[in-house]
């Protein structure tokens, strides 16, 4: 099996439904198609150049940002505004088809994840896979997330940065 699409932590495999492997190009198409996307930035990329790259992608595609863990602080210090939620809180809201979204404009239709702790992110993605048929999930971490709808493959930093840069273009 292609090592790039064995989930980064192999034991998170949950069943027959696996994420689609995406390239930056497919990810771009998903972003283009989305009407109300949302980006969730977790604390794993606090104080990493990747955080700036992620916010560039959000800016490029005009996506509101939710920060989880304590990611709000480092984003705020970098002058990036985000709304802070616990990762379980935001997932809980996203699974409710009647929730109006972070900007009160309606439930989101695409949720882009980056920087959430792998195994916890995997659990949240599982919630959305099962209980949020109204939206799609895309993960931009350097780890393959089988519980997402679409995920980047397992990559080394160098390739990952290239992937992210393409999305920010």
């Amino acid at each position: 099996m292609n090592e790039r699409v064995i989930p980064w932590q192999p034991t998170v495999i949950a069943g027959p439904k696996q994420a689609l492997l995406v390239t930056p190009e497919t990810a771009q198409m998903m972003l283009q198609k989305a009407k109300r996307p949302l980006m969730i930035i977790g604390p794993l990329i606090n104080s990493s150049p990747v955080q700036a790259l992620a916010t560039k992608i959000a800016e490029r595609w005009n996506i509101p940002i939710v920060s989880t863990g304590d990611a709000f602080k480092s984003l705020n210090e970098a002058g990036i505004s985000s709304q802070s939620y616990g990762v379980v809180e935001i997932i809980n809201l996203l699974k409710d088809p009647d929730w109006k979204g972070v900007n009160n404009e309606g439930q989101h239709d695409l949720v882009v994840f980056i920087g959430v702790i792998y195994y916890m992110g995997s659990q949240g993605l599982s919630t959305l896979k099962h209980f949020a048929p109204h939206l799609k999930t895309l993960t931009l971490c350097k780890f393959f997330h089988s519980n997402a709808d679409a995920s980047f493959p397992n990559m080394k930093d160098e390739e990952w940065i290239k992937y992210l840069e393409k999305l920010a273009e």
Binding site: G42, V88, I91, Y118, Q123, S126, F131
Partner: protein, 789 residues
């Protein structure tokens, strides 16, 4: 007057009710006369010995406000031969179950297992102690504790007076657990919320079982009885004297450890042999005898066994590595299994001649032995340790540093050790560093149990590198001074302490009780727990600790070299750090909250679960933190305390329990309160906002813990104090005023003076209006009242 009988040969089974109604207790043995034991309560509430469905209406109130949030860990079900069934995309299993109910069923199963583990442990202890001390041995917790069994009183509706009385609660609990387990069978319950209600019942049974177990061992083994000045005892891998024969107890049941200590005392060998423990067995043997030592929490297990320091390993029950024999063989340590829970394939030598058992173990004629008599374990473990210790000294137990460096050069950098690490720790980087003679990453993994030595990486390594031995050696070499002090588990909270803090807690002037419990599945090591404990101690909260959490807190020192146990008193009071004891001592945490309702608010306990839980939910600002929870027991404890109205914060691994209970602040109607004083329904607030929450890191957890201590009963003075901490902590970890603080301001007087201006600005921006403070906030029955019934 009642005739009771010291419990010698096996009692004859009599139909419970008949003998109970006659107040007679008969078994075959010596007849002794005692005063009437069980006290009839003055008033009995509506639900003594509640059956599975009797507290369902309370559960539904909780579940409406704190809806279950499911994160399936597995998309399939493989429980019966119709399966595997694929439950994705809204598909149901062949039996009709859907993914939500399947998650809830799994949670119920975990809670039943947890409750069974605690209660089987309690049953074993109870019968063993009754055999030793007699069924009429009094449940006397000393002068300062009159309400000695708050959970039993509330749930069973009776006040137990002697060891034998605990059997009634035990029987009830066992029957309930059977019904609950039954509903996990294919083709039973189909509703996720009803599964959750059953999980609450299983959690409650767990809490009951823990209380039975701990009270029985406290009174019969004379463990500290709520003593805030319980002695400091030694903790840490470095505290064990390697020059002596070492007996290590792993698990949770105190009896074999107590047997060892008794034997050493009888033979005058206390100074000649080290007795130490890992996990709760360690905490309980140090409650029994302060000279015993605590190696540390469960995360030390593989490291310490690999270090080869233990000559004899005595395992009892729960949280013991199931490959302990294989590990022990690596350094020729002897293994003794001591309970029916863990037999390891060993021959049962309980009835065998002691000399013969010792000989067989010393000469390696058996792999290990099963001995079901704790006193005999005491003798055998000691004698074997004393005989084999000398020979084992010559064994080379761990590789040297230069050998480690050579081994590390074998690494192919395949990366699989990191990928299979459940905690995503960079083991490969540690190995690559070691190959260059740089052991710093190994050292980082070793310290604070950042790596909790689960051993998954080692199994995966394609070069068969002994990663755990390498880690252990680096730790031994570089990490000095692994010697700390921990206050021995004190058991329950005294009534007089409850009288002292009841009012300030309910009014909010003591900002909360924060209890650090559970195991060591920490995302970034144990220091996070100690730092959280320190943060709340400094802020005047009452901090409770138990189990592995209590040990972890003890492994952290300030700059002056003092642990938190040396810096803070053991009082149940503001700035007190209360180590209640082992896993089963967790019962005293819910117990303290129940006692506040009873002693301070005069709520009758017997058969009165819902009123007590309602009181705790709305008026006792307590919050549990299970930062490294991994076990089914932890699932059961948390679910049980949730039903009592106590919120719990889990670490990120807690998301793998599959289910949380989350409130929705945007659904205002779910927060309405009934003011019992006026009978009116009033607009409430999200306090506490969640019942079971998983945080991603310590920073997030610290802030949410402070928030989850808010209660509708806070006076304005109390609310100011609590909001002050919430705002302060939010500023510290998030850099700003919390976005939602306006939701917790009822009147202007609630605003902390130091943050007045910015909070006022926020209130104005939000169009805030003052609202009434409830006088006696309650969640009970308000819907009926609202409908004018």
């Amino acid at each position: 007057m009642v005739i009771t009988v010291a419990h010698r040969p096996k009692p004859k089974e009599f139909k419970d009710d008949f003998w109970k109604s006659k107040n007679i207790n008969i078994s075959i043995g010596d007849i002794v006369e005692t005063e009437q034991r069980e006290e009839a309560p003055e008033s009995m509430g509506p639900t003594p010995k509640p059956n599975v469905t009797d507290l369902r209406s309370w559960d539904m109130k909780l579940l409406k406000r704190y809806e279950p949030f499911y994160a399936p860990f597995c998309d399939m079900c493989c429980l019966c031969t119709y399966g595997k069934c694929d439950l994705t995309g809204g598909k149901k299993g062949a039996c009709g179950i859907d993914i939500e109910a399947q998650q809830a069923r799994t949670v119920l199963l975990a809670c039943c297992i947890g409750a069974a583990a605690h209660s089987a442990h309690a049953r074993h202890l109870l019968e063993y102690l009754i055999e030793k001390k007699g069924a009429d041995f009094p449940l006397d917790l000393g002068m300062d504790i009159d309400i000695e069994a708050p959970i039993i009183r509330t749930v069973i509706g009776k006040v137990p007076k002697a060891l034998g009385d605990l059997r009634e609660a035990m029987d009830y609990m066992e029957e309930q657990n059977l019904h609950l387990l039954s509903s996990c069978h294919t083709g039973q319950e189909g509703s996720s919320v009803d599964f959750e209600s059953k999980a609450f019942q299983a959690g409650l049974m767990d809490n009951l079982g823990m209380e039975i177990g701990d009270i029985a061992q406290i009174v019969a083994l004379n463990l500290p009885k709520g003593d805030p000045d319980a002695p400091l005892v030694e903790l840490g891998m470095g505290s064990i004297d390697r020059d002596k024969p070492v007996v290590l107890c792993i698990g949770h049941n105190v009896s074999p450890g107590a047997g060892i200590i008794d034997y050493l005392e009888d033979q005058d060998l206390e100074d000649d042999v080290e007795v130490c423990g890992i996990c709760c067995a360690a905490l309980d043997i140090t409650r029994y005898n302060k000279n015993a030592k605590v190696v540390g929490p469960i995360s030390k297990q593989l490291k310490f066994v690999r270090s080869g320091v233990a000559d004899v390993i005595v395992v009892d029950e729960q949280c013991v590595r199931t490959d302990i024999l294989e590990e022990a063989k690596k350094n020729k340590a002897a293994v003794i299994a001591t309970t029916d829970k863990i037999c390891l394939g060993f021959p049962d030598m309980t009835e065998e001649d002691s000399d013969k058992i010792v000989k067989q173990l010393v000469n390696d004629e058996v792999e290990g032995v099963l001995i079901l008599d704790p006193d005999k374990v005491g003798e055998i473990a000691t004698r074997v340790a004393m005989q084999i210790a000398k020979d084992r000294e010559a064994l080379k137990l761990l590789p040297d540093l230069d050998e480690i460096q050579e081994m590390a050069k074998e690494c192919t950098e395949c990366g699989w050790c990191q990928r299979v690490c459940p905690n995503s720790q960079p083991m490969m980087d540690a190995v690559i560093g070691a190959a260059e003679g740089d052991f710093s990453e190994f050292q980082r993994l070793y310290e604070n149990d950042v790596c909790y030595t689960c051993g998954r990486c080692e199994q995966e390594c394609e070069r068969d590198l002994p990663l755990m031995s390498m880690l252990t050696k680096v730790g031994e070499h570089y990490v000095k001074d692994e010697r700390y002090n921990i206050r021995a588990g004190r058991g329950p909270v005294q009534d007089v302490e409850i009288r002292r803090v009841g009012a300030p807690l309910v009014l909010g002037e003591i900002p909360g009780v924060v209890a650090f419990v559970g195991c060591t599945n920490y995302p970034e090591g144990g220091e996070d727990v100690a730092k959280m404990a320190e943060e709340f101690l400094e802020r005047n909260y009452i901090v409770i600790a138990s189990g592995c959490g209590a040990m972890t807190i003890g492994e952290y020192r300030d700059e002056e070299g003092r642990t938190l146990y040396e810096r803070y008193s053991g009082d149940f009071d503001a700035k007190g750090l209360v180590n209640v004891g082992s896993c089963v001592s967790n019962s005293h945490i819910a117990g303290a909250c129940i006692k506040i309702a009873n002693i301070f608010a005069k709520k009758p306990l017997e058969g009165n679960f819902e009123e007590i839980a309602d009181y705790i939910l709305n008026r006792v600002g307590a919050c549990g933190v299970a930062w490294g929870a991994y076990s089914q027991k932890a699932a059961a404890i948390a679910t049980g305390v949730n039903r009592w109205g106590i919120p719990v914060v889990l670490g990120p691994h807690g998301s793998k329990y599959r289910r949380l209970f989350l409130g929705r602040t945007d659904k205002q109607e779910t927060w309405d309160l009934n003011d019992l004083r006026t009978g009116k329904v009033i607009e409430g607030e999200p306090a506490p906002e969640h019942l079971l929450y998983a945080a991603e890191n310590r920073e997030e957890a610290t802030v949410i813990i402070a928030k989850l201590c808010l209660r509708p009963s806070d006076t304005s003075k109390g609310r100011q104090i609590k909001l002050n901490h919430y705002i302060d902590l939010h500023k510290k970890y998030f850099g700003t005023l919390p976005e939602d603080v306006y939701k917790f301001v009822r009147v202007e007087k609630d605003i902390p003076i130091t943050h007045k201006k910015e909070v006022m600005d926020m209130l104005e921006e939000k169009g805030w209006e003052p609202r009434a403070l409830p006088q006696e906030p309650s969640t009970m029955n308000f819907r009926e009242k609202a409908e004018g019934k």
